[in-house]
């Protein structure tokens, strides 16, 4: 859409009330600087900088330092950003204010940090703040003063923060397109640095599996586990170029449209080829990733399975269930009872024979939780289900049921999944089982979302009594949501049991429910891609970067607050909740564009005149 800016002279003539804001508000910048200083002090004082200082991600810069640099850069960028103006108003011209805004924020943040350093250098506070040890400032390696004595260290910190803030602020002097390219470059460099072990493993894996000459790339990109100078240059250049290409003026037609226009036979060919490549890639994936990364994926996959289930309950049907782990536990225990030769039943079945019973048991559990809470909504529902989750754990733990479930000793020697004579032993083989179930769950989710019951759930989420008045039996809709959600969690539990090989009640505590809930909230409620990304990032990443483990819930909390404030619809929102603003215009535009495109296609010889509303 062409921006129809009102020319400056017109605005000037119209008087002060119509004038747009003059550029960066310096008081806001100073405030952002204070926040940045607070964040930097916080991560230094709670030990994150130190804990993350062992992993170098870019050259000699450790993850801990990268975090501090990121704070200065990020807040500098925000502080240098011109205020948003209403559509149709002229945006303020970029100028020195952007730079000053960034500089100011950086300087304030640096000053806050400097005060903090002086304080912890003078006073012994370790008794209260356990993580503020002498190695931060007083003794080698003097992490926070970058190895310098206090005086020069303070100057360095202050200078660095100011410079970085200013640098980030000046990004706003660039045209949007170039700024995006720079941001993309920074983002990808950080990502490649952070995921060094993954990238190296993948490149090596591709070489051994596919005999492509990819391993040397890893040697060029990385030195000693961190991005090398050449690596930074290459990654940054690639990301920069790709971003510029993507935003280059000529907009190509979307791939989907172009595919649709191919003749039938070649379209089928394309589809088969894509499918074959995908299957081949997935078949080789665990081999390429190696044992450790496959294990990480498997763990993320089990949580993804649960998240897809909870997404049906919370995202689709709007029933906030905080005791979701109960269904996970039911699936795991059912599996363990049936396939472990040492369980109380002592059956020792094969995994697949247990699957129908997992479905049955989870469905029954879903009904058992769903029925008593039929009349509850919102907060009350959340509290009661939270209680149910704990009850389930305590039942599995109890002495009363110990003869069946084994109490605290749990159930051990759960057999591996077998496919014919092949045992899925080890993370790489197990990946296929996880993948199969995740695929199934994803398909079920999509199929149900776009169906009679999916609409009933959505209606119920929006307004329960109106849904009932419009013909949706709320009892049936609620119970079916609980049952389907329980089944998917049950599958997750079944896989979990065979993956670990032994299960204990303490694996099924409320933290699991909360983690799954965070995954769907951050990923994007009711959005399958959001849930997938959420599970990979929020569950996979902490497994990958072990240092995160200790700070996992701190990060979850920070992320939740950030999302609630800035992006309540989630990271990848479902289409329905995506565009809050201008959606009417956009829908109209999209419709007009599509119609115009169809007309053009229908009549190639005499192209339809451009629609007035289109440009």
């Amino acid at each position: 859409m062409a921006e129809q800016a009102i020319p400056a002279e017109v605005l000037e003539a119209a008087g002060p009330t119509l004038l747009p804001a003059r550029g960066v508000d310096l008081r806001r910048s100073a405030r952002l600087g204070l926040t940045a200083g607070g964040v930097a002090v916080f991560v230094s004082a709670n030990g994150m900088v130190e804990a993350f200082s062992k992993r170098d991600i870019v050259g000699p810069i450790s993850l801990g330092y990268a975090m501090l640099l990121g704070v200065a850069l990020g807040f500098g960028y925000l502080a240098g950003r011109p205020p948003q103006v209403l559509q149709g108003f002229a945006a303020p011209r970029p100028g020195w204010r952007n730079l000053v805004g960034g500089l100011l924020a950086g300087a304030v943040a640096g000053a806050v940090m400097a005060v903090f350093l002086v304080l912890i250098a003078t006073f012994e506070v370790r008794r209260i703040f356990l993580n503020i040890g002498p190695e931060l400032v007083r003794e080698a390696p003097r992490l926070l003063t970058v190895g310098q004595d206090l005086g020069p260290g303070l100057a360095l910190i202050f200078g660095l923060a100011t410079a970085l803030g200013g640098l980030a602020g000046t990004l706003h002097l660039l045209r949007e397109r170039w700024r995006r390219a720079v941001l993309a470059a920074v983002l990808w460099v950080v990502l490649f640095g952070l995921l060094a072990s993954v990238v190296i493993q993948v490149l090596r894996g591709i070489q051994t599996q596919l005999r492509l000459w990819t391993a040397p790339i890893a040697d060029v990109l990385y030195a000693g586990g961190a991005l090398s100078v050449a690596g930074v240059a290459l990654v940054a250049a690639a990301a920069f170029g790709a971003s510029l290409l993507r935003t280059s003026g000529r907009r190509r037609r979307p791939l989907r449209r172009r595919l649709d226009q191919l003749p039938d036979t070649s379209r089928r060919l394309v589809r088969v080829a894509v499918l074959a490549v995908l299957l081949l890639g997935l078949g080789l994936l665990p081999q390429i990733l190696g044992s450790f990364l496959s294990e990480v994926l498997n763990i993320a996959g089990i949580f993804l399975l649960m998240a897809l289930g909870l997404n049906i309950v919370v995202g689709f049907a709007g029933l906030l269930d905080l005791g979701y782990v109960a269904f996970f536990a039911v699936g795991a225990y059912t599996t363990a009872l049936l396939i472990s030769p040492q369980s109380s039943l002592g059956l020792g079945w094969v995994f697949w024979a247990a699957v129908p019973f997992v479905i049955l048991a989870s469905a029954v559990a879903g009904l058992m939780v769903g029925t008593p809470v039929l009349r509850m909504r919102g907060d009350y529902l959340a509290i009661v289900t939270l209680g149910f989750g704990e009850i389930a754990r305590l039942l599995f733990l109890s002495d009363w049921l110990k003869p069946v479930f084994g109490g605290a000793q749990g159930i051990i020697r759960i057999r591996d999944i077998t496919i014919g004579p092949v045992e899925l032993r080890g993370p790489q083989a197990f990946f296929y089982a996880i993948f199969l179930f995740v695929l199934l769950a994803t398909y079920i989710t999509y199929a149900l979302q776009d169906s009679r019951i999916g609409r009933a759930w959505a209606a119920m989420r929006e307004d329960e009594s109106v849904a009932e008045a419009m013909g949706v039996n709320i009892v049936v809709a609620k119970l079916s949501a609980f049952v389907v959600g329980a089944m998917l969690a049950g599958f997750g539990g079944a896989l979990f049991a065979t993956k670990i090989g032994s299960i204990f009640p303490h694996s099924f505590n409320v933290i699991v429910s909360i983690t799954v809930l965070v995954v769907i909230i951050v990923g994007g409620m009711a959005s399958v891609p959001g849930v997938v990304v959420g599970a990979l990032v929020l569950v996979g990443l902490p497994e990958l970067l072990r240092e995160f483990e200790e700070y996992r819930f701190l990060l979850y909390g920070a992320l939740l607050i950030f999302m609630m404030v800035n992006r309540p619809e989630g990271f990848i929102p479902s289409g329905r909740r995506a565009q809050e603003l201008h959606e009417e215009d956009m829908a109209q535009d999209a419709w007009l564009r599509e119609r115009a495109a169809d007309e053009r296609e229908a009549d190639v010889t005499a192209p339809a005149p451009r629609k007035a509303g289109e440009g």
Binding site: A458, E468, A587
Partner: protein, 260 residues
Amino acid sequence: MALLGIRGLTKDFGGIRAVNGLDLDVDAGQIISVIGPNGAGKTTLFNLITGMAPVDAGEIALDGHDIVGLRPSQILGLGIARTFQNVRLFPEMTVRENVMVARHCRTRSGMLTAILRLPSFRREEAQTRRRAEDALAFFGARLVGWRLETPARSLSYANRRRLEIARAIASDPRLLLLDEPTAGMNPQETQELTGLIHKLRDRTGIAIVLIEHDMRVVKGISERVVVLDYGQKIADGTYREVAGNERVIEAYLGRRATQA
């Protein structure tokens, strides 16, 4: 036999008797206006008929069958659909989806057929879409085209009212209850809507009961007018009969005098 027969219907809210021993018959194909001062119990009457509020005493029969105590979804299935005084749509769902929900009670496919995408499911789904779009087309071009895909909350107020009516129509009712359908519409829109309500009845033969405050609408649209006051029926007849009724004038004027 009347389509809807109400006998001795009573509803208390704490100390307030919102509906008080009400008798009312609605014949098939009739257009009836229910009028009365604020708080007379009109909306409560609709809530009782549709099962959204429990009945304290009395009978409600559809085609001679008692419907008291049924779930609202069952009552919709039997053929009574309604709209709400304070428009209640599914705001985040699209216009089309809003109407498709109303087909829930007229469709059967369960979760398994949906997951397996059986031909019966596809057929039913296509039919649901078509029926929804037909219902929306009742309002001409106002709710179709690009608007089908927009969330209901982005509609203008008048269009939300129309969408709510379309949603009710889509459930194939035999009796349609409209709670102040023209509230918030300008005179021209009001006129258009009254025309459409007539057209709907003529085309489908369904009975329509509407609560209305605008006396011009009441006069123009209704074959019968029922007046409620303090939960009781104080008049029942043609517009002319009711307009000349002593008690009605008193109810309206008396109330107005004390309010002023």
